[in-house]
Symmetry: C2
Subunit: 300 residues, 2 copies
Amino acid sequence: MRENELIRQVAAFPQTLPDGWLGIGDDCCIWRPGGPTALSTDAIVEGRHFLSSDPPALVGRKAAAAALSDLAAMGARPIGAVVALCCPARWDAAAVMTGLFQELSRHACPLLGGDTTAADQLAITVTVWGEAPAQADGRPGRLLRRSGGKPGDLLIVTGPLGGSFASGRHLRPEPRLAEGAWLASIPWVHALMDLSDGLAADAPKMAAASGCGVLLLPDEVPVHDDVPVMADTARQACCDGEDYELLAAVAPEHWPNLQLAWPFPVPPARVGWLLPEPGAFVEAGGRVIPLPWTGFEHHS
Amino acid sequence: MRENELIRQVAAFPQTLPDGWLGIGDDCCIWRPGGPTALSTDAIVEGRHFLSSDPPALVGRKAAAAALSDLAAMGARPIGAVVALCCPARWDAAAVMTGLFQELSRHACPLLGGDTTAADQLAITVTVWGEAPAQADGRPGRLLRRSGGKPGDLLIVTGPLGGSFASGRHLRPEPRLAEGAWLASIPWVHALMDLSDGLAADAPKMAAASGCGVLLLPDEVPVHDDVPVMADTARQACCDGEDYELLAAVAPEHWPNLQLAWPFPVPPARVGWLLPEPGAFVEAGGRVIPLPWTGFEHHS
């Protein structure tokens, strides 16, 4: 398909924009920001993040969902998205874009522009931005960084982990936008991030950004049904990538309050603690040992 | 190079951010917008927009400059950039990022984040955003679209065209940010865009967005020194891509004022007119004929 024909198809996707905004078709898109704005860019590449045999609409969906997960990871409400599509002729570009658009629409995120070019290998870069939703009392919301954790904070996750690649669930990630916005609105939630490289890799990143160490509790990590029964389930739950659940650092004295107030169907689970000194450890069978797993680095 | 090592190197690039901003290292970057914001994403791919043998720093520079040109095309001042780097091991990723960062820095645009992944083919997607600079009298500035042209408007370009690929100039495009901001500040400049696919392809796009037709004057198009002397120079100046000069639609009665007030070293040149009826034409040897060239579509 020629570039111009694809752009015409994408420009016809149904969406309405607020006054003063400008979407697809000019050199830039335009929007009117209402406050501090969070933005992330996320690339997925054929053969690394999906297979050449995967359905194009699911690949587009994954590209959108993975990017939106970064907004969830700060508690931001999506405002807009643009996409750069580097697409070989053997891929159905319109199907990729349709899957991408539907996932953005499901989260009320308009597609405001993009770029498309031929390539030998399908690569999709989605850039999304958003703002903190206003608080219930009208005060401005908060964008929650990963660097605000404090020693003694409890680490919690929003859902079960592991088995995402083996099961194919990685093509249908669920960006935890509602959970992120809710967590970011609570003052004693101190840090937030999404899990893309596995808890064993990502929790130490939050700890390091917060100037802390970390102790993980593998026996308490909720294991996803996608992890095979016979597997080393704790290791897989801690080390598999692309869960796209959220990891939060919470003041420990409020943990019961968090559980009582939790408004989502899947309950949160505690998976570790932030420590006053650097280092990464696990508690297993009542003993504390250095973290025995290297992080999953699916990007390289 | 491993992803984490590259991120460490890039995070050490020298830049300072305003209070309340957040750069490289979290799930999103954060900035505080001051008004309507323009954003563009632009991808360049090995074998299409540059060669495997091109110097990596120049490839990074081109990726940044091509994206910044889209801000110039609306008169926006750069506020921030993020990059998604899909990079094979045979490319020097750090050199690509250094060239990219230096080009952004030259235009006072901080690099605020990004994503990096392995790939078989180098693809670089740069997303940039910016705001209209305030007017001299303090009034808010204007982001100038390509759709505001009126029948009878003169079409002008900011510099000579053609020969960008053949000469290698396409690796060192000069985003016309100062020219774009200046043009957007003038009320009788009605439409603005940058020339990436050649005047013969891009001028009809501006005309169509403005509900107009277009008459080009190939004999008046300034020809770049990079076009060979023996070439069909008018055709090359109109049809070669990646000039990254700006095209503006100007109220014709103000053309002398524009020339007198023009503050940049390279004078503007008039290259055509917008027409009340649809269609694309050229004037050659005193006769008007349909546009004889199809557009250059270097993206497909």
